[in-house]
């Protein structure tokens, strides 16, 4: 089979004041017609840099310093801007990571598709355009009505499929998808990846899939390219790489994929005596947007939940819009329940004042999804850590605070000398997220709400952070409410699992019972949607296409 893309010795530098950063070094690979090639590596490994170089979209100070890249005989490196822009979409199409915000908010889907056609020599209008758009939408599993919708009227999965529809609008030879599903939940992820599969079967386009999830790769690509520090460290058939990884880095990456297979036995619990719960939700539920004549949207149906005793680590799993974040927000006192009550040591959370409120704020801590926006960029991270200690009167002096901070950093596996005294932008995402855990830990909380704490950090760091949560449970008698759409990590970390669907608890029990032998059809669907890092294991059962034309779902998390 002829090669669609031949990349030879491609090197990209970022020329900074402090010297050149070699973002990609002597990268060579080929992609055959219709082949699906996965690029994996942690953030900063150079996979996105390679993609940008192919698209001719490297931003200053990034620059190709050597090598070549040929797309069916056309040399991409050094191609004039206008010529490169003409190639994009028509011969090499791009599917973005952040489909959430990738569509122009003031245009309908029809206009967005038409724009791409018009600027590549196919200015269509009227019924010709309507028919073309309907055909494209149908190919990605969307109904023709979607054409007249605006981006804010679409769910995340639908937007991602609209982006795929745009990508295939000129039948490109190569589709370049950069983490196209990392913002989607497992069920939607499977639907979107199936769409990619259909497209390939129909058009024969090659796929360059960038990602970090070996499970997803195993289910969707033919060949894997593993990158580290700008270099390709290993490449081969996906089966071979997964079965017999040669490079130690590949082995590490594969080992860090959470599955429902093995499970570390839980440590001994610090104390099991029955005490009154710290947080008690008594029939608490939440309805949004209810008016005099409108019933509103039931985000969370009334449920009972006690935190602060057994079980120690409780996972709440479900798709976006299932109400899991609302549950976390009620526990944190960010929203008040519209039904029932949320009690802190017997008192409604909303009515807490003065010392009781301080005690609540100290006892109930949170770790959020996005470690990048959790720190004030103008202060050193010490400030974020020391402030609650001093504010809540836990320590009196700066030196006491410093001692506490150092101890807490050590406990989450950070070297205090390397992170304290620095600004947030000088730290990696994983370091920041561990600092957030450390910050919560220093206050010796009784309850910790962790809302998708690892969805934005590299796979290899996920375990370190999740293990820090387990350490908290074992050493400090903390109850953790782990909110996630990732069942595999929930399975690994939690004692008890609660499955939410459309605001209602459909199943709960021990992690083994719920996830290994799911009783409810919805849990079954979630479990089936987990991509296993094993190409011979079929991905899920029946294909589900429930997302078509449904009402827009709430966006993922914070």
């Amino acid at each position: 089979m002829a090669d669609v893309l031949q990349v030879h010795d491609l090197s990209v530098d970022y020329q900074l004041a402090t010297g050149a950063v070699h973002a990609a070094r002597n990268v060579s690979f080929t992609i055959a017609a219709g082949e699906r090639v996965g690029f994996v590596g942690e953030s900063g490994s150079g996979k996105t840099t390679v993609a940008l170089a192919l698209l001719g979209m490297l931003r200053h100070p990034g620059r190709v310093v050597g090598g070549s890249a040929q797309l069916e005989g056309t040399e991409l490196i050094g191609l004039p801007r206008a010529a490169h822009a003409q190639l994009r979409l028509s011969r090499i199409a791009y599917v973005p990571q952040g489909a959430m915000n990738s569509l122009n908010p003031v245009q309908t889907v029809r206009r967005s598709i038409a724009d791409g056609l018009a600027d590549h020599g196919q200015p269509l209008a009227g019924t010709t355009l309507t028919e073309r758009v309907a055909l494209l939408l149908q190919q990605v599993g969307l109904t023709p009505e979607v054409a007249d919708r605006f981006p804010h009227e679409l769910s995340g999965g639908m937007k991602q499929r609209v982006c795929i529809a745009i990508a295939i609008s000129l039948s490109p030879r190569l589709i370049l998808a950069d983490e196209p599903t990392s913002a989607l939940d497992v069920v939607t992820q499977r639907q979107v990846m199936e769409t990619f599969g259909d497209i390939r079967a129909r058009l024969g386009s090659a796929l360059m899939l960038i990602g970090h999830d070996f499970g997803l790769m195993a289910q969707t690509v033919d060949r894997l390219v593993v990158m580290k520090d700008g270099r390709i460290v290993e490449t081969g058939e996906v089966r071979d790489v997964l079965r017999r990884p040669e490079h130690p880095y590949t082995r590490d990456l594969i080992a860090s994929v959470p599955t429902l297979g093995e499970r570390r036995s839980g440590g001994t619990l610090a104390s099991t005596d029955e005490r009154s719960p710290v947080i008690h939700l008594a029939g608490a539920g939440r309805t949004y947007g209810a008016g005099l004549r409108r019933p509103g949207v039931m985000a969370l149906r009334p449920l009972d939940l006690a935190l602060g005793g057994e079980p120690r680590i409780l996972s709440v799993v479900g798709q976006s819009g299932s109400g899991k974040t609302t549950l976390g927000d009620i526990v944190l006192g960010f929203v008040d329940p519209t039904a029932g009550a949320a009690l802190y040591r017997g008192q409604p959370i909303a009515s807490l004042r003065g010392a009781a409120r301080q005690a609540y704020r100290r006892d109930v801590q949170a770790v959020f999804q996005d470690p990048y926006s959790a720190f004030n960029p103008f202060y050193r991270v010490d400030r974020a850590l020391a402030q609650p200690l001093l504010k809540l009167g836990i320590v009196r002096t700066r030196s006491e605070a410093t001692a506490r901070m150092q101890a807490a950093c050590a406990e989450v596996g950070l070297d205090p000398d390397r992170v304290l005294g620095r600004f947030a932008h000088q730290l990696s995402g994983g370091q920041r997220q561990r600092l957030m855990v450390a910050r919560a830990l220093m206050l010796r909380p009784r309850v910790l709400v962790a809302d998708e704490p690892v969805s934005m950090v590299d796979a290899s760091l996920r375990f370190a952070i999740l293990d820090a949560l387990r350490t908290l449970r074992d050493r400090h008698d903390v109850t953790v409410l782990y909110v996630t759409h990732d069942l595999a990590t929930a399975y690994r970390v939690s004692d008890h699992v609660m499955v939410l669907h459309s605001g209602a608890v459909v199943e709960e029990g021990t992690a083994e019972a719920v996830l290994r032998e799911p009783a409810h059809a919805y849990t079954q669907l979630l479990v089936d949607s987990i991509p296993w890092p094993d190409p011979d294991r079929a991905w899920g059962g029946s294909a589900l296409r429930s997302d078509n034309g449904s009402s827009p779902q709430t966006k993922t998390g914070r």
Partner: protein, 334 residues
């Protein structure tokens, strides 16, 4: 849909206007001095012929209804406003304030509406252009000059323009709304004369406000260029022109239209100093004279008109914004 939105906004508009009118009524009452007395004393000082001042005050107060209880005054004031009766000018008694304002308003709106809209369009385009990654070199070169103009007040620019174009080169008139010889009429010759007279004041306003619009637009455009949809549009190989106009500028426009509407509300007061410099017969000139002559009722009248215009401008923005932003449209539908 527009009609139901209009009906829903109307009570709010009414509340704003009534509140403003009430403040306009109450504030002078709180002042220690009575405007009639002040005016008469002033006249007495100048002319020296008035003898029975307190008697005169009483008779004036009777005529203006100032001897009535405050609450009665208030309601008759509100009633007056509803029928656009803003009382009488003290300086040009018995000319009605409403007539003075109505005579001046077309001049001001004609001059300021046109020049503000021109400045808005040029400023928006120019500001977006200098923020654009691959801006034409010309835009980059003249950018500092335009920004410097933003720092100049209208009237200074007006003075400079008058000096150069009207005094030294004498290609434009020194001031006024029309030639002394011309008789106001609906004829082409008169319209041309008005246009000719408005060019210099309009130019000074346009030049001085382009910079402000350009500066704010530039900031917004920098932010919009960092949005995912801009990167995605580039990745799809969309043309530079389309990305600039339909993706960049189109999204920048949304907050700027709100700013424009607020700005337009204020033009009813005229550009006081520009009109003064060019001796232009607009509301700004009227206000300037009224302040000079302590003509309180004219001042109140102008302030009231300004409030009314801002409220109406906001209403118009509320009504057209959904046409610009589909996200607001969705909310409005609910």
């Amino acid at each position: 849909m527009i009609l139901s939105r209009l009906l829903r906004r109307l009570p709010m508009l009414l509340a704003v206007v009534v509140t403003a009118a009430t403040l306009n009524f109450a504030l002078p009452k709180l002042a220690p001095k009575n405007p009639v007395e002040t005016k008469l004393l002033e006249m007495a000082e100048q002319g020296g012929s008035l003898t029975d001042i307190s008697g005169l005050i009483r008779s004036y107060e009777e005529r203006f209804g100032l001897d009535q209880p405050v609450i009665v005054q208030y309601f008759s004031y509100l009633k007056g406003l509803a029928t656009f009766d803003l009382g009488y000018s003290l300086a040009f008694y018995p000319t009605r304030v409403a007539d003075l304002i109505l005579k001046a308003l077309p001049w001001t709106i004609g001059l300021l509406l046109t020049s503000t809209l021109i400045a808005f369009v040029i400023g928006l385009l120019f500001g977006a252009l200098i923020a654009w990654n691959r801006a034409p070199r010309l835009a980059r070169v003249i950018a500092p000059g335009v920004m410097a103009l933003a720092a100049l007040p209208y009237y200074l620019l007006g003075l400079a323009l008058t000096y150069v174009f009207a005094f030294i080169w004498q290609i434009f008139p020194l001031g006024g709304g029309y030639s002394l010889m011309a008789l106001p009429s609906w004829s082409w010759a008169f319209a041309l004369d008005v246009f000719y007279h408005s060019l210099l004041p309009a130019l000074s306003i346009v030049l001085a406000s382009i910079g402000t619009w350009a500066l704010t637009t530039r900031g917004l455009m920098v932010t919009v260029q960092g949005e995912d949809y801009m990167v995605y549009a580039e990745a799809n190989g969309l043309s530079e022109r389309r990305r600039f106009l339909h993706y960049g500028l189109r999204n920048v426009m949304l907050p700027q239209v709100t700013a424009l509407a607020l700005h337009l509300g204020h033009i009813a007061a005229g550009a006081v100093l520009v009109e003064r410099v060019f001796n232009y017969p607009g509301v700004g000139m009227l206000l300037f004279r009224a302040i000079e002559q302590s003509d309180y009722f004219v001042i109140y009248g102008v302030v009231y008109i300004v409030v009314l215009m801002i409220a109406i401008a906001m209403l118009i923005v509320d009504l057209i914004y959904p046409l610009l932003d589909p996200r607001i449209r969705a909310e409005a539908r609910q």
